[in-house]
Assembly symmetry: C2
Homo-oligomer: 245 residues x 2
Amino acid sequence: VTLPRFFAPSAKTGSSTVVLPADEAHHLRHVLRAGAGAEVAVFDGAGREWAGRVVASQKHGDVIIELMGELTPVAEPPVRLTLGIGVLKGDQMDAVVRDATMLGVSEIAPFASEHVSVTPRAWRSGASLERWQRVAIASAKQCGRAVVPIVSPVARFDELLGDAKVVRLMCVEPAAAGSQSRPLGAMARPSTALALIGPEGGWTAAEIEAAQRQGATLVHLGPRTLRAATAPTVLLSALWTVWGW
Amino acid sequence: VTLPRFFAPSAKTGSSTVVLPADEAHHLRHVLRAGAGAEVAVFDGAGREWAGRVVASQKHGDVIIELMGELTPVAEPPVRLTLGIGVLKGDQMDAVVRDATMLGVSEIAPFASEHVSVTPRAWRSGASLERWQRVAIASAKQCGRAVVPIVSPVARFDELLGDAKVVRLMCVEPAAAGSQSRPLGAMARPSTALALIGPEGGWTAAEIEAAQRQGATLVHLGPRTLRAATAPTVLLSALWTVWGW
């Protein structure tokens, strides 16, 4: 039997109890309707997980969980992988964040490149970032991960490229980069990597050149045109097949 | 510039014109608003594609396309792959059919296994099958394939297993089959394969045993729990990474 899992970022080894954040308390009380004595699991989002028991859960009070003992968390992938993704329209980013979390990324780095069609107004308030971070938490709860990936604030594509000191992979359409790209296949396993996926409109030639100057490897994922919101799932699945799950 | 693509199953090499099916005629007239003289591409769903030009497009008449010359279709994957999928709830099957088409399967074979929670009433009328087939056509148009995968009628799981005379892969949760399953990795490339993904509720022990008796290899896709509607995309991406795109 799988215990219902809750995100408790303030849980600490050595503490005997933890207070759930408001969202999680709501989930426990109003969705699962769990009361005092219920057995649960809590994870801190940084890779630790505990068996726990609900001590107190009053309608307007805190939900307090007694930490019973540390559990072995689900294994993390062998590479610390950041997914760089051009901001997509509407709720497509929610699907990308959900699936990338389930597929073990350490960080999701949305960026604004030339062909991103969403206006910066959409993310300036920070509400998008907060929503994406909530989606990552919900996905971590469901998929069993004890790690919640960081969702970074939207950066300019050149900033993202400049900051990264890691192996870079850039997904391109086969037609876009001609013979310069190769199908994703065997590749030595790095300890850290940044994988880049463009927005619906793809990359400009200048963006591809800039990435190549920074040492990026151009890869493609078969000859068919992939939906922008599905391409990250395809890329991540391919990478774990090559590097080990 | 990519030509707008239309599905014309009656197109034949040697014919000079083809009449579009009603759905496609509607798309051309009312969505793309293309009139006589417009340049398009048509594909027959079986792997052939032509450059074409709209000859006639009257409000209540047929849309007739003149076939100008055969085009080289987007390459198909190196394995004739059937995706066997436990029927999922709601519109999740639409997403599965859409993404499996984009990922190059030859056939989608929905099945009813023990833990399928959708009642047979949902698919008995044939309306679901028709909808899934329309989704496959729409996805083929968008991803550039000249092949439309066949969506078979919903079969019982044991019928599907019994009929198939091909390499079988069965995706299981790592916990479900213990040490009997291995992470999907290197594997010789067959010419034909059947890959099986269970419904939300997973497989029964008897179903896993039945598949093993028929020679199925049990594989898992990492230690995290995947959403049922995303698991096919993960599996197919992993298989093409191993077998070539």
